[in-house]
């Protein structure tokens, strides 16, 4: 079987992002393979480690720098990579057409993508890909087992969690808690440099977003930061805090 893992290169959680010309600038940010996507890749690797005859293909769509994220994925153990070079921002619905075309070309029967990647805060890609392919989807999975052409697992829903089984093909979105992604070892990082990384051009996919970003601003809300020190008298600090919340902030009775 072939497993396609879609990945994004995003700012590291602690990285500084800035706004320039009404758009987010990542010039000063440290960029990494999104941990949300690592869970899917790790799961695919675990299926293979457990004996599933799987070829694992990672794919990214975006500017040249995405190659680094793909190399990280290859160093974790993916077999090969596809980089669709694009300078054009694509929303999840437009991007899903690209992922679908790659999945069809590669004859993948299982697709992973992160539940909500740390750049666009979007949940939509996995479901949009599933819809275009006519496949079922399972979002926000936190446990997965593969056997007999079927996946069994557990995922989060509105009011708790659900156990499920589903026959492949299927699209799976992942999240923290599914597994602990492995670190790439030095020999594997060296090996990854020799693995196939195929380049494609976005123009050949003929996609266009129906949504465009016209402005961006940093969410900087000024906080009062009145921080008290409990020191030797936690009771007095608690009393002072309760008083502030009552009379100054007026948020408690």
């Amino acid at each position: 079987m072939k497993i396609l893992v879609y990945v994004r290169q995003v700012p590291d959680a602690e990285a500084s992002i800035a706004i320039a010309n009404g758009a987010v600038s990542l010039a000063a940010a440290k960029l990494v393979l999104d941990t949300m996507d690592e869970y899917g890749l790790e799961q695919a690797l675990r299926f293979r480690d457990a004996g599933a005859p799987a070829e694992i293909i990672v794919a990214a769509v975006g500017p040249a720098r995405n190659e680094e994220a793909l190399r990280s994925a290859l160093a974790m153990g993916a077999d090969r990579a596809i980089h669709v070079e694009s300078e054009q921002p694509l929303d999840a619905i437009a991007l899903s057409s690209v992922v679908v075309e790659l999945a069809r070309k590669e004859e993948a029967t299982l697709i992973f993508c992160g539940g909500r990647q740390a750049d666009w805060d979007s949940d939509a890609l996995g479901a949009a890909v599933a819809e275009r392919l006519g496949w079922p989807q399972l979002t926000w999975t936190n446990h997965l087992e593969l056997g007999g052409g079927q996946l069994a697992g557990r995922h989060d829903v509105d009011d708790g969690n659900e156990s499920f089984t589903v026959a492949l093909p299927a699209v799976i979105t992942t999240q923290q808690g599914l597994n602990d992604p492995r670190y790439a070892t030095l020999p594997n990082i060296m090996k990854a440099k020799k693995k196939e990384l195929r380049k494609e051009q976005i123009a050949s996919f003929q996609v266009k977003s129906k949504v465009k970003t016209v402005a961006a601003e940093m969410q900087t809300r000024t906080r009062l930061r009145k921080i008290l020190q409990a020191k030797d008298d936690p009771r007095a600090a608690a009393a002072q805090l309760v008083e502030l919340l009552r009379t100054e902030a007026k948020v408690i009775a």
């Binding site: 909500r116 969690n161 129906k210 409990a230 502030l244």
Partner: protein
């Protein structure tokens, strides 16, 4: 028309439905505000919805007794296509955000996710939403005959029900068979107000020490304030609290008037779920914890001593 898909739980219409009505009216798009109620045995929900909208469409069938993204998307897309809905509003819940992309693909529509503002501007629909783990607010524009929108809960004011009820119409849709077999379900039970609807939230992190510590400190304070209870990912992973209480990137995004963080250090993933709260209060032993950077008020000290003192000092709500 503007189509709103009702969300409900435990036999009652969720607050998100009334919030979406406000979002729909504020969008300044022509056409009647229409609420679609999907499910099995949903007459009472439809009656509630009829007091919020200009018309209500009801699809009441045993085939919709259980939510599934494929059936919900098929039903919504069919009704939206038949009714030529310009805007299709869906709740920004976990389920809403997982089936809405399918609706957008079926209709060849644009998708705007988790919006906090929505308005027609000439030929386009303009919206605002948070990105980069809610550190950035982006203004986006969609230009398409049909636009699917998920509406972030807790942002728009809830529309007040009117005394009169709008007309209800039954609809009939051919539904696909869901292909995912649900083999078990764990439902989070709580007698408290839900996280996304609460004005006050008390949340706990690792710093409360244990599941027992969480119950005493976080639940104790929440009960005193009539507040909802939230938790960090670490606390949920440790099995101290159910997933339904998780606040953050992989949990719920909340925007209460008051958020009290007890023993929470403030990882960026957690902050992304609560940094829009009106007033943020942090109680933590570590003066360097990032939570203090976003706090309006706080105490550096031992939660085991401070929180019980606060519980004692706060009057119980009437």
């Amino acid at each position: 028309m503007i189509l709103i898909v009702a969300e409900y739980a435990n036999g009652k219409l969720s607050k998100s439905a009334a919030e979406m009505v406000t979002a729909a009216r504020g969008a300044a798009v022509n056409g009647p505000v229409t609420i679609l109620v999907l499910g099995s045995g949903v007459a009472a929900i439809a009656a509630e919805a009829a007091r919020l909208a200009e018309q209500v469409l009801v699809l009441d069938t045993p085939a919709l007794a259980q939510y599934s993204p494929e059936t919900w998307a098929a039903a919504v897309a069919f009704v939206a296509a038949e009714g030529e809905a310009k805007l299709i509003l869906i709740g920004g819940s976990r389920s809403g955000r997982e089936y809405s992309p399918r609706v957008a693909v079926k209709l060849n529509a644009a998708l705007l996710e988790d919006v906090i503002q929505l308005r027609q501007e000439g030929a386009v629909i303009r919206a605002q939403r948070y990105t980069y783990l809610a550190r950035v607010t982006e203004t986006v524009e969609a230009n398409a005959p049909q636009i699917v929108v998920t509406v972030k809960p807790g942002i728009f004011a809830a529309a007040q029900p009117s005394a009169e009820s709008a007309e209800q119409f039954d609809v009939d849709v051919e539904l696909p068979q869901p292909r995912v077999q649900v083999t078990g379900k764990t439902k989070s039970q709580t007698a408290r107000i839900s996280l996304v609807e609460a004005d006050t939230i008390v949340s706990g992190g690792r710093g409360v020490g244990s599941a027992e510590g969480f119950a005493t400190l976080v639940e104790g304070l929440a009960d005193k304030l009539g507040a909802a209870v939230g938790a960090t990912r670490a606390v949920v992973d440790a099995g101290w609290r159910p997933y339904a209480e998780q606040v953050g990137q992989t949990g719920k995004t909340v925007q209460p008037k008051l958020y009290i963080a007890v023993g929470i250090s403030g990882a960026v993933q957690h902050l992304s779920g609560m940094n829009k709260a009106g007033t943020i209060v942090a109680i933590n032993r570590d003066a360097d914890a990032p939570i203090f950077q976003v706090a309006d008020y706080g105490i550096v000290g031992d939660v085991q001593q401070i929180v019980p003192a606060m519980i004692e000092l706060i009057a119980k709500p009437d």
